[in-house]
């Protein structure tokens, strides 16, 4: 026997020495064993978290809930989350609004992501919920509250992550087609069209998998009588037709995401007049490609992601549809994030992001001749933003602590430091209390900084500072049997919010008198309470979500009289247009092969610039039959046939409210899985 063999044998003898306890009796050793084996796998497990120990306030709408309530779009599904309203301005549909932080013309205060990849317009800043059809969605994760330490710019009021569906079988394909007819009645007309159509194909092999989903959804609202700022009236039929294509694939440690979307929607005009293009079509197009590679170093995890996101909007600007605007931008983002597990239950997360934002054009052109009318001072503007962040955490059996910061440098808006700190106490696995402090910021968009149209509608302000938000939250989460509750009380502060001011303004040596221009608002704050309850058993699902909030008037300002119809001016502030109470709920039930579901959303009384809007309530209901691979669903949207109104809070001139829903609509959907 040579020396080395002797050593090895001696080691064996050491192994054979008795130990105090058998390994299998030690649960900790079993977890340690599974953790060790997970390290050897190609794809490392994500850090497991539940809503009870997540270091943020997160609400999830999963696929089962989407199907139970027959939600027809991501916007529909989001209404089920307390603290979220999906509203509109006269320029934009489907604007997610978190905790009453209204979003000017553009939805740029809530970060929208697909599979954790941020997607938003490089020129005007808005994320677009219609870039993903509901049939391609596995779940929607909603993070309420500022989240810039994790996600960087734009997660000012919160973040929405749309997680795409994945294959759920080995070497199997999942095909799915669905389609339906919709019919709208009431108001001034009816409509029938293919309301939804989609297909999903998924494949899972031994080292690779991919999912391809195509989705189309059309929503034509019943017509309604629209009175414009000039006093003219016409029948308006609002619509939203969105198509999207999503591909996700992975091979070993590599992941690819591709999203392409196109939508057509009606436009209420650059001003709310029938002469500004409200009868014409707005086109939105976008394409996103993202590649990630996961590294598995001995010390933890590392992920590199490169993303290219291209967006285009094409909007009408006059009643003849002769003048249109073409808005094109793109972003290229490189991100490196890592996590290292440290001794004594500690861990560190750190990363860096470098982003190019390119405002290619915001061009007014004559559609009949394709000649340029005006470039709006937004041609070829490139900005860069770089950031680094670090967080340190500690996971104990009952305690979970996390603190960190992100430092950001923006080439056009300077530096920012956002921080967060979270403390969670777990009474047990299903009972926890959370105390959270978080900050966020949003760099001004090129549109807000440099826009200069002719004729002047609004002027960009190069001196804008980034918007900032900070929140203190206290949450209690509990689950018992089939019930789940989540209560959150919060206090939020907003500084330098970017809004459309009216007055005298000087830019680049040019003095503008009584003009709309972008400006930073004085600080204001809000406090609120969110309650969410869910019940679930084998055949029944129910939820109730409610929000109460009170906002300050720190940003109050006067709005001058419009100078027509003898209308007076008024006073305006953000929370004037946010109802103190919002509520949503739903109930779904399976009875044999039949199923039925209904859900509702309600907003409390609300103000317009000069008046009030009564409480708004709308509800959807659906019944259906499913057997094997076939599913038929008959749904009635807005069953009360009411016109659902929301304040017009941007232009603040003559028109006091705009409609969210205009009447009842019936949809039939057929689904076949193969």
């Amino acid at each position: 026997m040579n020396l080395k063999s002797l050593c090895a044998t001696a080691f064996l003898a050491a192994l054979l020495l008795p130990r105090p306890a058998q390994a299998q009796d030690e649960q900790a050793e079993f977890w340690s064993f599974m953790g060790e084996e997970a390290k050897n796998l190609t794809v490392a497990a994500a850090t497991p978290e539940t809503v009870f120990n997540s270091v943020s306030n997160v609400t999830v709408i999963d696929r089962a809930m989407i199907e139970s309530y027959n939600f027809s779009s991501v916007s529909d599904a989001l209404q089920a989350v307390p603290g979220i309203m999906v509203v509109r301005t006269y320029l934009m549909h489907n604007i997610p609004t978190i905790r009453g932080t209204l979003q000017e013309h553009y939805a740029d205060k809530v970060l929208v992501m697909i599979n954790n990849v941020p997607m938003w317009n490089a020129v005007t800043g808005e994320g677009d919920l219609d870039r993903v059809g509901i049939d391609a969605v596995e779940r929607i994760e909603v993070l309420l509250g500022p989240a810039s330490v994790v996600y960087g710019s734009n997660a000012l009021a919160g973040a929405i992550n749309i997680v795409l569906r994945k294959p759920n079988g080995k070497d199997t394909s999942l095909g799915r087609i669905s389609g339906g007819l919709g019919s709208a009645s009431g108001g001034y007309g009816g409509n029938a069209d293919v309301s939804r159509a989609g297909g999903l194909y998924a494949w899972h092999g031994s080292v690779a998998a991919y999912t391809l989903a195509a989705d189309s959804y059309n929503r034509a609202q019943p017509a309604y009588r629209f009175h414009d700022e000039a006093g003219a009236a016409n029948s308006i039929k609002e619509y939203m037709n969105a198509r999207s294509l999503n591909f996700t694939g992975n091979y070993k440690n590599n992941t690819v995401l591709i999203n392409a979307s196109h939508s057509d929607q009606n436009y209420l005009g650059n001003t709310i007049t029938l002469a500004s293009g409200e009868l014409f079509n707005e086109v939105r197009e976008a394409a996103l490609a993202s590649y990630s590679h996961d590294f598995s170093p001995d010390w933890g995890k590392l992920r590199y992601t490169a993303t290219y996101d291209w967006q285009r909007r094409n909007i009408p600007r006059d009643a003849s549809d002769n003048v249109r605007s073409d808005i094109v931008g793109s972003r290229f983002i490189n991100t490196l994030n890592g996590r290292a597990d440290l001794p004594r239950d500690l861990y560190a997360e750190a990363g860096g992001t470098y982003e190019y934002r390119y405002a290619r054009r915001y061009l007014n052109y004559y559609s009949n001749t394709d000649t340029v009318q005006w470039d709006n001072s937004l041609n070829g503007r490139l900005s860069q933003e770089s950031s680094v962040h670090a967080q340190f955490g500690c996971d104990k059996e009952h305690w979970k602590l996390l603190a960190g910061s992100r430092y950001t440098h923006n080439s056009g808006a300077g530096d920012n430091l956002s921080s967060r700190a979270s403390a969670i106490y777990l009474f047990d696995e299903r009972n926890s209390v959370k105390a959270l402090f978080s900050q966020s910021f949003r760099s001004p968009t090129p549109f807000e900084q440099y826009f200069k149209p002719s004729p002047v509608t609004v002027v960009g302000n190069p001196a804008l500072k980034p918007e900032k938000a900070g929140t203190l939250e206290l949450s209690y989460l509990a689950s018992r049997g089939r019930f789940f509750w989540h209560l959150t009380a919060y206090y939020a502060e907003y500084r330098n919010t970017i809004f459309r001011n009216l007055g005298d303004f000087v830019r680049d040596g040019t003095a503008y008198s009584n003009v709309n221009f972008y400006d930073n608002a004085p600080a204001y704050n809000s406090k609120g309470l969110e309650i969410e309850g869910r019940y679930e058993d084998k055949r029944t699902h129910a939820f109730l979500a409610a929000q109460y909030l009170r906002g300050s008037r720190g940003d109050a300002r006067d709005v001058p009289a419009p100078g027509v119809f003898g209308l007076p001016g008024g006073r305006t502030w953000n929370f004037k247009y946010v109802p103190a109470y919002t509520v949503s709920g739903g109930l779904s039930r399976d009875i044999g092969n039949f199923f039925a579901a209904s859900n509702f959303t309600g907003y409390g009384e609300n103000c317009t610039l000069r008046g009030h809007i009564g409480a708004q309530l709308w509800a959807d209901a659906s019944v259906g039959y499913k057997k094997g691979d076939i599913r038929h669903t008959l749904a009635v949207r807005n069953i009360t046939d009411r016109e659902v109104l929301f304040p017009e809070y941007v232009r603040l001139r003559v028109v006091e409210e705009v409609p969210l829903n205009t009447g009842r609509r019936v949809e039939y959907t057929f689904e076949y899985r193969f």
Binding site: M1, L3, K4, S5, C7, A8, T9, A10, F11, L12, A13, A14, L15, L16, L17, Q22, A23, Q24, D25, E26, Q27, E29, F30, S32, F33, M34, G35, E36, E37, A38, K39, N40, L41, V43, A45, A46, P48, E49, T50, N53, D62, R63, A64, M65, E138, K166, P167, N168, G169, K170, H204, S206, A209, R430, G481, R482, E536, D537, K538, R539
Partner: protein, 299 residues
Amino acid sequence: MDSGTLIQVLSDYMRRKLLIPFLLALALLPAANVMGEDGTAAVLTEDAGPYREAFLAFQEEYGKTIPAYDLSTYTAMPQEKVIAAFGGKAATLDYPETSLLVYCLAPGIKDRPARRRTVAIPMVPAPGQALQTIRRIQPGLRRLAVFHTSGAYARYVEELSSEGRRLNIEIIAASVQSDADIPAELRRLIRDMDAFWLLPDPLLVNKETFTTLKYFSRANHIPFYAPTSELAKKGATAAIFNSFVEIGRTAAKAAKEDVRDSSTWYPEKINYSINTTESGYIRMNIPEDVLDKAETLFE
């Protein structure tokens, strides 16, 4: 404390804290290309927990002392004719092509190492045995959801499906990509399954997943079968498993055989444990004779 006790404590301390590291350090001496006298060597991913327990059983069954290497402190490359590997890291080393590789406790390995002669000892019981055991615990079982990631257990679930057809049990392949997908998959299957079984898949077996499954089982009165006795103790309805001792013994039997090709050896003895508190909570009636024969009853 009397002097005898003190000496005993010091002795234990010396043995655990000094002797073992000393011997380990000796073993750490450059030992590449070593060869045991018997032509068999063992490689452990780590000298701890299940790896150690299985190896001790291996050694006992094998009947001879063989060199053993701990990969957590030492990079070994034994050249013996037979290699017994304990753990995924140990199983995936690049051993000589002519050696017979017997590996176990590697629940995450998707593809059998590309070698001519390999014996895999799974952590899961043989499909037929497993289903028969679950059927005995739950006689009314018709639809069983099996949670796993598609990698390592895809073929096993196919075999389960095949056996299930014979036993009139529909196997629902609840294949997910990560533990994050489990809640949605549970909700998707809530009306379609009579029970669910979590396989020993390293990507899925963690405290959070276990908690989710345990409370889902309680809330919906659906039995939860776990991959180890300890999880039954902690709140699963029952556990269906091969003990680490049986796995080690089976590996030793394979190592002693003149195996010419690649194969899978399931341990002959299947174990099950039952948590009677949990089964009572979900109003599950388990036959008395099944309770009597359980490896462990947790009350």
